[in-house]
């Protein structure tokens, strides 16, 4: 027996970039976060070859979960081909050997910045959301140690008060994206800066969602079939963006979250924000056989 036969050949990088101790910690923290839905679990959060704030948290989760049998999709603001999504997808494929896809239906793992695809996600799919600020209480309590205690006490009075104040001042709740939501009736979480349009997709969904903030070193999760309820008053209904009646000028798809494109004549045109859904709609319109999945929203409405 020689030393050579006992050791693996030298490689400049571990499989999946992260070393085994980092992956072990991430697996443990993911399990914890699944066990206590919506509760932020602190983790060491390693530096990765990408700047903090560019999806390093979700990247660490993806790197830990991926293997060559899994197909990965990466989106940024709904688009597969935005600069950052392309860069992350290239990196994930390079270090894990996982095949990539743009099609939501084919993906096993979807890393996303600020959107949930319009097509249903299934039990065998994992959504990993990039989170810039994991603390829903930050605007009412910037000190993280105190905020942590408030979560422990389920002390969300200030959070509610903020919503009250918005209605008093502006006549409606002004929260745009990152709408604070109660998970499993216990922890208030930020769903990450997804639009309000996407928050109901998390409620009792079939897929697992993991939210990870690399810079702030917090991981939390929404396990399958878990209640996610946006904080709303009984008599002031939750309002998603007013996009239900808009039509995509390219694909003709109607009733989905749109990107507004300012036009030279001062008006606005709209395009489906979920870029691959738009592409598939165009192909279908042009007569190609396309597998267009079922969508959460039907005719611009989320069925109750």
């Amino acid at each position: 027996m020689s030393l050579k036969s006992l050791t693996k050949p030298w490689q400049s990088m571990s499989y999946g970039f992260l070393d085994p101790s980092a992956k072990r910690e991430l697996r443990r923290k993911m399990l914890k976060s699944v066990a206590v839905p919506g509760c932020q679990m602190p983790y060491a959060s390693r530096e990765v070859p990408m700047a903090r704030g560019w999806g390093t948290g979700a990247l660490q989760v993806s790197l830990t979960l991926l293997n060559p049998q899994m197909c990965v999709k990466v989106i940024d603001q709904g688009a597969d081909d935005s600069v950052n999504a392309a860069s992350i997808r290239r990196f994930l494929a390079r270090v894990s050997g996982a095949p990539t896809t743009l099609d939501t239906l084919e993906a096993h793992l979807i890393q996303s910045r600020h959107r949930i695809p319009e097509e249903f996600l299934r039990e065998d799919q994992i959504l990993v959301l990039q989170v810039p600020n994991p603390e829903p209480l930050r605007s009412v309590q910037p000190n993280m140690s105190i905020a942590r205690q408030m979560h422990a006490d389920a002390d969300y009075g200030r959070m509610w008060l903020q919503l009250y104040e918005q209605i008093v001042r502006s006549g409606r709740i002004m929260q745009g994206a990152s709408y604070p939501s109660m998970v499993n009736g216990r922890h208030v979480m930020t769903p990450s800066p997804i639009p309000r349009w996407d928050v109901p997709k998390l409620n009792m969904s079939k897929h697992l969602t993991i939210l990870s903030a690399g810079r702030e070193k917090r991981i939390f999760a929404v396990p399958p079939y878990t209640r996610v309820e946006p904080l709303v008053f009984d008599d002031v209904p939750y309002q998603v963006e007013d996009h239900g009646a808009l039509t995509c000028k390219r694909s003709g798809a109607k009733g989905f979250f749109m990107n507004e494109i300012p036009q030279d004549d001062g008006t606005s045109a709209f395009e489906v924000s979920d870029s691959e859904y738009g592409v598939k709609s165009i192909r279908q319109r042009d007569g190609e056989a396309v597998n267009l999945g079922g969508t959460w929203y039907k005719h611009g409405e989320m069925p109750k």
Partner: protein
């Protein structure tokens, strides 16, 4: 025929608040030594003494903001048993939010200065679980109205209000949930004399209208005389004298009380 004389009957109302044997030291300084307090439902108890006498520490303990080294604290309320000093943080917070109201001398301690006045009151209701916006507004308005706060300033932030108005917002916040106990810590100290009289009037009317049990801490005998039924005189962390307000002020027994009363007169 023999005369039958009824035995003297004693009215036995159970006290709402009982504090026993409370002691607290800060290093070598004795803040409170073996202090006992009793307050009956609907009664206004005054605590008078100079600064450093321990009266404010005692009030903070009744609001569960501080814990003594020794002593017990009970409130005779349904679902509430045992020494309140032993409650965990969560139970303390809920009890303070729902059953005890407090008005501080310094409104910055009790109010969010840049939120709306109605929001300051609504926060209490939100903590207690109220989730209807219309109800929140209605109840906040009622409480502010009861505190004789001008309703056209409903959504003005306290920072834009006068000192007297700020105390009315604090008061509205304190009574919004109809607490069993209302604690007042020098509620009118620092206000103009005329404003002081108006706020005292409001407190008096409110107390008579709602029969709230109150504990008022003040160094000002005038405030105590206006509001309180009974008074405790404190000095150096001890209770030196206790009795009905008229009795104590007309016929003080303890040398310190005599000094206080005469200084006032």
């Amino acid at each position: 025929m023999s005369m039958v004389i009824d035995a003297p009957r004693i009215v036995t109302t159970k006290p709402l608040l009982v504090v026993r044997g409370v002691s607290k030291t800060y290093g070598k300084v004795v803040a409170l030594h073996d202090v006992a307090v009793t307050a009956y439902p609907g009664e206004v108890l005054g605590i008078v003494g100079e600064s450093g006498s321990g009266k404010s520490t005692l009030l903070r303990m009744m609001n569960l903001e501080e814990t003594p080294e020794f002593g017990s604290y009970t409130l005779d309320l349904p679902d509430l048993r045992g020494n309140l000093f032993n409650l965990d943080r969560f139970a303390r917070r809920m009890l303070c939010a729902t059953r005890i109201g407090i008005v501080y001398q310094n409104p910055h301690l009790g109010l969010l200065m840049t939120h709306s006045s109605s929001g300051n009151v609504a926060e209490r209701l939100l903590i207690a679980g109220e989730r209807s916006f219309a109800t929140l507004r209605a109840k906040a308005t009622d409480a502010l109205d009861a505190s004789e706060f001008p309703l056209d300033r409903l959504d003005a932030p306290p920072i834009e209000l006068s000192g007297g108005m700020q105390q009315r917002v604090q008061l509205a916040k304190a009574i919004a949930l109809e607490p069993a106990l209302l604690l007042l810590d020098e509620p009118t100290t620092g206000l103009d004399v005329s404003v002081q009289a108006l706020v005292l009037d409001t407190l008096k009317r409110l107390q008579q209208g709602r029969q709230i049990t109150m504990v008022v801490v003040s160094h000002d005998l005038g405030v105590i005389r206006t509001l309180a039924d009974r008074v405790m005189v404190m000095r150096s962390g001890r209770v030196v004298e206790e009795g009905l307000v008229d009795q104590i002020f007309q016929d003080p027994q303890h040398a310190y009380t005599q000094q206080l009363v005469h200084a006032k007169l």
